[in-house]
């Protein structure tokens, strides 16, 4: 949406250094304190404590029914917490009705007013504030320009395409310059290509406006793309709150490892643990496995090793040293995706693991094919030991 102007050179620098959650002196903008929300017997949000900082692009990620939307609706004011406190810029807002909160929401269904044209939809929130007419007109104009909707100003919502309606909804929720913009599955109704474009536009917009965005999504790629930090939720509980790369590379639990991206989970038992390396026995190989990530396991613990498919190496010939993180298997299935190929390898113990390899070269002397015997290896830093 802000694509035509030259890219602000400082964006990269700001993005690289932006990590207010690591600064203990920084006051969070939004704070959930032990928030519980029950609907009858059902606990939608279970004792959630969460800090979100100013100018952060924060994603709530989880399967449907995990409580992420309820958490957002509490911030918008449509639901009241059963227990706990919710503060915005230091003030408790648990009791403040939605129409008095400096928070605006972009709805999943867009919720455009069908009897008003695009301009009136965008101006609706501004009129509620009794803003002078000239200022409203100027702000609407600015929003139309920002979302490239100038030529559609007089159209009614049903005369617009899905992508245009999405822009109107965004313009309407941004028009009041809220302290926090809530986005409830904002791109769910768009097709894949448009969704990917819009994700980057949203990021630029958030950066340019310097606002705090909170997005709810079940699409992990979307969350990974746009967010500074992601909170993975399941059954009303926060499983892990961390930047995307940490969520992917250092998942805290099996659930997070499995939910984000593809992963192989290998069960094992810890035989030795030091500050540098954990060694485990596992049914997939007679030799102990060496892992240097996720070092909180103690000898004797049942644990599992999470290894991403792209961090495994596959070859037809045995590697020089077959005693460290190396096991043999047979190709069960191959998925060719163009840029990558996914190999399903069946190991001697019966477990199947996924290995993905980039197709770097067009000509390969002897491609790996069905029923081949292959060797699979991984580096000690490629696996993560998970005890939960």
């Amino acid at each position: 949406m802000a694509a035509e102007k030259p890219r602000n050179q400082t964006i990269g620098a700001v993005r690289r250094t932006f990590a207010p959650w690591t600064d203990p002196d920084k006051k969070p903008l939004i704070r959930f304190e032990n928030v519980v929300k029950r609907f009858g017997d059902f606990t939608a949000v279970d004792n959630v404590s969460l800090d979100i900082y100013e100018r952060e692009f924060f994603a709530l990620l989880g399967p449907s029914g995990c409580g992420k939307t309820t958490l957002m609706r509490m911030l918008a004011g449509f639901e009241q917490p059963t227990q706990g406190r919710l503060t915005l810029a230091g003030a408790d807002i648990s009791e403040v009705p939605p129409y008095r909160r400096p928070v605006n929401m972009m709805f999943q269904s867009y919720a455009l007013f069908p009897h008003m044209n695009v301009m009136d939809n965008i101006a609706f929130g501004l009129k509620q504030d009794k803003m002078p007419k000239a200022d409203i007109a100027a702000r609407v104009e600015e929003m139309l320009k920002l979302t490239k909707l100038e030529t559609f100003a007089k159209r009614k919502p049903h005369q617009l395409s899905g992508g245009q309606r999405q822009r109107v909804a965004l313009a309407r929720s941004l028009a009041k310059r809220p302290k926090v913009l809530l986005l409830d599955e904002p791109l769910g109704a768009l097709d894949k290509k448009l969704r990917e474009e819009t994700q980057f536009e949203l990021m630029d917009l958030q950066m340019d406006l310097g606002m705090t965005f909170l997005i709810v999504t079940h699409d992990q790629e979307e969350a990974m793309t746009v967010a500074d930090r992601i909170a993975v939720m399941n059954h009303g509980v926060l499983m892990q709150v961390a930047p995307p790369s940490e969520i992917y590379e250092q998942p805290a639990t099996r659930y997070v490892a499995d939910f984000i991206g593809e992963v192989n989970l290998v069960e094992g038992k810890v035989i030795s643990a030091s500050s540098e390396e954990t060694r485990l026995t596992s049914p997939i190989t007679p030799h102990p496995l060496h892992v240097t990530q996720g070092l909180d396991a103690k000898p004797g613990d049942e644990a599992c090793i999470a290894i991403r498919p792209e961090k495994l190496r596959i070859s037809l010939d045995p590697p020089a040293d077959t005693s460290v993180n190396c096991f043999e298997g047979e190709i069960w299935d191959i998925g060719y995706l163009g840029d990558l190929s996914i190999y399903h390898v069946e190991l001697a113990c019966g477990q199947r693991i996924k290995v993905s390899q980039p197709n770097l070269s067009r000509v390969v002397q002897r491609p790996i094919t069905w029923d081949d015997k292959v060797w699979v290896t991984f580096a000690p830093h490629a696996g993560v030991v998970l005890t939960r």
Binding site: A76, G77, F78, P97, P98, Y99, R100, V103, N104, M105, F107, S109, A111, L112, F113, P114, H115, F124, G125, Q128, D129, P157, H158, Q159, L160, G162, R165, R172, S173, K176, A189, L190
Partner: protein, 272 residues
Amino acid sequence: MRRGLTWFNVTAIVLGFAFLYIPILLLVVYSFNASRLVTVWAGFSTQWYWALLENEQLIDAAWVTLRIAFFSSLVSTVLGTMAALVLTRYGRFRGRTLFSGMIYAPLVMPEVITGLSLLLLFVAVNFDRGFWTVLLAHITFTMCFVAVVVQSRLVTFDRTLEEAALDLGCPPFRTFFSITLPLILPAVVSGFMLAFTLSLDDLVIASFTTGPGATTLPMRIYSQVRLGVTPEINAVCTILIAIVTVVVIIASIVTKRAESLRQAEERAALQG
């Protein structure tokens, strides 16, 4: 199987419509009869329509009826819409079943009973019967029809629209008038028109609850017919039929247009 106009279908349609509309058609035709004798055709004339203008009793009755119909349907539209809102919005409050039962009871209650019970009430509280009692009675029995029509629209109303308005800083009361009401307006208007026509041609309840000086048109027609059908009555009835037909047609056009617009919007929304 062949569909469309078979001989059987045509006969069924002709007989059906004849059964429904021949009496009305006869009445309309004879209102243009030049003869005073209702059953003898003596050429075309509009004299009975002109005679109506001089029949003060009928004119008075028509004026009373129109006023009652207008004001009672106005009030019952407001009350019926409020009842529909309560029934669709406030989930399961204590006594909801009783409340909805009581709103819909007049829909199936025999008019004689409604009329009689209202009469007893007015007598008991010593309320002078006349214009106001008929008005109150009509509000009572037309309200439930408005509630039914409006409720069926509210059931499909997308509540996130109201949430969006609240979220943008619009308080609940104003949200109702700037978002909810404009969108359910077609249903409210057709509820109003339904109430209007029901009030216009009610005879039973009005006869029970009326008093001196507040004779409605259906009552006047009924009492005159007992003395013999005159061509004037035919003329009045023809006008009444015309009014009701126009109102019903407008109401159905309003709802149909709103409905097709809404469907177009929903289709567009689904295509995303």
